[in-house]
Assembly symmetry: C2
Homo-oligomer: 450 residues x 2
C-alpha cells in the first residue's frame, strides 16, 4: 500500500525523469523512498539511474533505510566510487552489515578503496557475530578525556557532532583510554565553563561486551531505560556503541523469531516467499511432529480391544488429550515469556511448578466435572463420567507440570525453549491423556459395557 | 537474583541505617534500587524511612523506575508534601501513570496541592486511554518559534534543557503555534549564529494523534528509526511527545500480550501470581476450547460403527488431525506476525492464500505418503495407506487455507487475531481431519475389513 507521494515517485522513476531532492524527495521520508525502490517493477536500470543522483548524502539516508536485498542490489549495480562516496555518509554498523552480505571479492574491492582507518574499523565490526553486541554496534560516538573543561568539551562536541549518531550522551575516558563515565549533554550545557568533565559525569555506566547476545543487550537497554549502551572490552576500552534504533530492530527480530518458533517454523521465512523454501523450512518440523504423533498413537493402539468394545471412547479420548494440550500451552507461554524477559530460571524458580500443578488440578477438576456430566447424560453411564473426571484432572496436572518445567529445562540445557518446548509438551499431554483415559476405561470395562 | 550491591543495600534498609547517596546509592542504578525496594520483606516503615531521604531528585529517579505496585505503595505512605516535592523532579507521563492508579480522593488531594498549570496538564494526560499515544506521551519537550535565530535558540535550550526529556530534537512551531518542523541539535550546534531555525529545520515530520493505538505508534517509530515522535491535534498544535524508552515498554508489553494470547491466556497474568487469579483467567478459555473439542468429538461419534469394526482407525485419526493442527499453526504464526507488523491485510494480500494451499498440498502429500507406508507395513492393507495419504493431504490443504485466512478475517472484523485464531484453526483441522479420514474409511470399509 503506497501513499500518494510514493505513487508519484514511482511514476517519475518509471518515466526516467530527473527527480529533484529539493521540493520533492526531501518531503518523503527516506524509509518510504526505500519502500518504493523495493517494488517488484523497478528495474536495474531505473535503480542505477536513481542512485547516480548527485546528492550522495541523501542517497545514503535512503540506502540506510533499505532492506538487505535492496542494499546488496544497489551496491552491486553502482560504480565502486559511487558506493564509496555514499558509504562516507553512512554509519559504520550499517556499512558493515551491507559488506557482510556481499560476495567476498566485491567486499574486498570496496574495502581496498576506502581509507585505511575506515577499512580497519569495518573489518573489525564484521568480525563479530551477527547476533552479538559487536555485530550491531557502531563506531560513531563522542568520547572525550575526563580532564577536559566544559568549554573545551563544547568545542569538541561542535567539531564531532556532524559525524556521530548520538550527541546527547558523551562517553568519558581516563588517560588510559578506559571508559570511566558518561556525561549528559544537558548537564554540559548548563555547567560552568571551567568545570572539568569528570566532575559532572555519571560513573554508573551500564555496558556490554562485544560477544554478548543481542537479546541480552536489548533486555539491559529496556531495564535501564537507556538510549545508547557502550560496548567495551575486558580492559574497559570503548569499542563502540549500540543505539536504540538498532535495539528496537533486535526486539522486533527476536519477537518474530519467538512467535514463529512457537508456531513450528524454526528459521524465519517471508510470508510471500517462494513455495519451495517454505516447504523446505516447514516439512522437517512436521516430520518431527509426526514422530511424536506416532508415539501418542501407539498409546491408543495399546487399547484397541477396549475401543472395539466401547467405540464411544474414541471420541472422548480426543477431548482429554486436547484439553491437556490447551492447558499446557497456557502454562508454557507464560514460562517462555518469563524466560525471554529474564524473569525466571530453573534454579531460582522451580518451586513455582507447584502453583502450576495446583492450577492444573483445579482447572482439570472443573473441566472434567462438566465433561463428565455431559457424557453421563449422553450415554447414561455414571462410570464413564467418573473416568473422564479422573483422566481430565490427571492430564491437566501433567500439563501444568510439563508446561512449566519443559521450557526451563530446555533453557538450562542451552537450547531455545521457544523452538522445541511445544513438541515435548504435546507429546506428553497427548500420550498421557490417551493412556490415563483408556487405561482407566480398561480397568472399569465391565462397568462400561452393558 | 540480587547483586552484591543490592544485597548490601537491602541489609542497610533492614538495619534502619542512614543511607548516603554520595559514595553509596549513586553507584547503584535507580532501577536496581527499585528492584531492592520491591522485595517482599521490605516493610512499610522501612519504605517510608527510605523515601524520606533529603535528596528528592534522587528519590524521583528511583520512583520513576519502580513498578506500578511499588509506586502506589510509596505515594500512599508518604506525606503529601514529600510526594509533591518528589513529583517535581519527575516527568509528567510518569506522574500521570501513578496518579491514574491511585484512589480518586488521594489523586484529587495531590492535584490540588500542585501548581495549577501542572495539575491542568496532568488531568489532560490522564484523560487519554492508557494504551493510546496520549496515554504514553509526556509534556516535557523543547518547542521553539521558527523565527528564532540560532543564537537565541541556544540560549533557550540551555534554559529549558534541565527540565526536558529530549534535548537532541527541538520542535519548531510557527506563529500560530502549529508544529511545522523538527531541528536536530547537531545542526543547531554547527549553524551560523544569525541563521533562523526555520532555515535548518526538517519539515518532514512524522507525528501521531493522541487517540492512536500505542502499537501503531511503536510501528511508526520503528519504521522511521525515530528516537522521539510528536503527538499533535487536528489543528497541528503540539500536545506532547513520546520518547523511545516508552516505545520499548510498549513493544515488550504488546509482545507479551501476543505470546500469551496465542497460548490461550487472554489477559496478561504474572507467572508467580495467586492461584485463584490464574484459574479465573485461564478457565473460561479452557471452557471455550472444550466446546470446540465437543464439536470435533461429534465428528468422530458419527463414525462409531466404523471404529467398532476397525479399532485401529482410532489411533490413526489422531495423527491426521494432529498434523493438520501443526501445519496450520505454522501458517497461522506467519500470518499473525505479518498482521502485527502491518505487512499484510485481507484486502491486499488474500491471494497469498494460494501459496499456503500449495504448501499444504506438498507437505500433506509428503507426510501422508510416509504415514501411509508405515501403516501399510503395520497392518498389511494398502487401502489403509491410501486413505491416510488422501486424508492427510486434504487436511493439510484445509490447514493452509484456515491458518492464513482466519487471522486476516478476524483482524478485518476488528478483533485481535492473536487471541482467537488458534481456537478456530484447531476446530477446523480437528473436525475436518476426523471427518475426512473416517468418512473415507467408511466409504472403503469393505476393503479394510478382512
Amino acid at each position: 500500500m503506497l501513499s500518494e507521494e510514493q505513487e508519484k515517485l514511482l511514476e517519475k522513476i518509471h518515466a526516467g525523469e530527473d527527480i529533484p531532492v529539493e521540493g520533492f524527495l526531501e518531503d518523503i521520508h527516506p524509509a518510504d523512498i526505500a519502500a518504493c525502490l523495493n517494488e517488484e517493477d523497478v528495474s536495474d536500470e531505473e535503480l542505477t539511474s536513481f542512485f547516480q543522483h548527485e546528492d550522495k548524502e541523501f542517497l545514503a539516508s535512503v540506502l540506510e533505510q533499505s532492506d538487505d536485498g535492496l542494499q546488496a542490489r544497489v551496491v552491486a549495480l553502482l560504480p565502486y566510487t559511487d558506493v564509496i562516496r555514499i558509504f562516507s555518509y553512512m554509519s559504520k554498523d550499517d556499512i558493515a552489515d551491507i559488506l557482510g552480505d556481499l560476495p567476498i571479492d566485491l567486499r574486498k574491492k570496496l574495502l581496498n578503496l576506502m581509507k585505511a582507518s575506515d577499512s580497519r574499523e569495518l573489518s573489525a565490526l564484521m568480525g563479530y557475530g551477527e547476533d552479538t553486541a559487536g555485530g550491531i554496534m557502531t563506531t560513531e560516538y563522542i568520547a572525550l578525556r575526563d580532564d577536559l573543561t566544559i568549554a573545551q568539551t563544547l568545542v569538541k562536541i561542535k567539531e564531532i557532532a556532524p559525524k556521530t549518531e548520538v550527541i546527547e550522551t558523551i562517553f568519558v575516558l581516563n588517560k588510559n583510554r578506559e571508559l570511566v563515565g558518561i556525561a549528559d549533554l544537558r548537564d554540559i550545557l548548563i555547567a560552568p565553563n571551567d568545570d572539568v568533565l569528570s566532575s559532572i559525569m555519571d560513573e554508573t555506566v551500564i555496558s556490554v561486551f562485544p560477544e554478548q547476545d543481542q537479546e541480552e543487550v536489548s533486555l539491559l537497554v529496556n531495564k535501564y531505560d537507556l538510549t545508547v549502551i557502550p560496548v567495551i572490552n575486558r580492559r574497559h576500552a570503548l569499542l563502540g556503541i549500540i543505539t536504540v534504533d538498532d535495539i528496537m530492530d533486535v526486539m522486533v527480530e527476536e519477537q518474530t523469531e519467538d512467535i514463529l518458533r512457537l508456531g513450528g517454523i524454526g528459521e524465519v521465512e517471508e510470508i510471500g516467499g517462494p513455495i519451495n523454501i517454505s516447504v523446505r523450512r516447514r516439512l522437517p518440523w512436521l516430520f518431527i511432529n509426526l514422530l511424536t504423533a506416532f508415539i501418542a498413537a501407539s498409546a491408543i493402539a495399546l487399547f484397541d480391544d477396549v475401543i472395539a468394545q466401547v467405540a464411544a471412547l474414541a471420541s472422548m479420548m480426543t477431548i482429554v488429550s486436547g484439553m491437556g494440550g490447551n492447558a499446557g500451552t497456557q502454562t508454557l507461554s507464560l514460562a517462555i515469556r518469563g524466560i525471554t524477559l529474564g524473569e525466571i530460571d530453573l534454579k531460582s524458580n522451580w518451586k513455582l511448578v507447584f502453583k502450576e500443578v495446583a492450577v492444573g488440578l483445579l482447572d482439570g477438576a472443573a473441566i472434567g466435572f462438566f465433561t463428565g456430566i455431559v457424557f453421563y447424560f449422553r450415554y447414561g453411564n455414571i462410570y464413564l463420567g467418573l473416568i473422564i473426571l479422573l483422566a481430565m484432572t490427571g492430564n491437566l496436572i501433567i500439563a501444568g507440570l510439563s508446561g512449566f518445567l519443559i521450557p526451563l529445562i530446555i533453557k538450562k540445557l542451552g537450547a531455545d525453549p521457544a523452538l522445541s518446548s511445544s513438541i515435548f509438551l504435546t507429546t506428553m499431554t497427548d500420550t498421557c491423556g490417551f493412556f490415563i483415559f483408556l487405561g482407566l476405561a480398561k480397568l472399569f470395562l465391565p462397568l462400561l459395557v452393558h
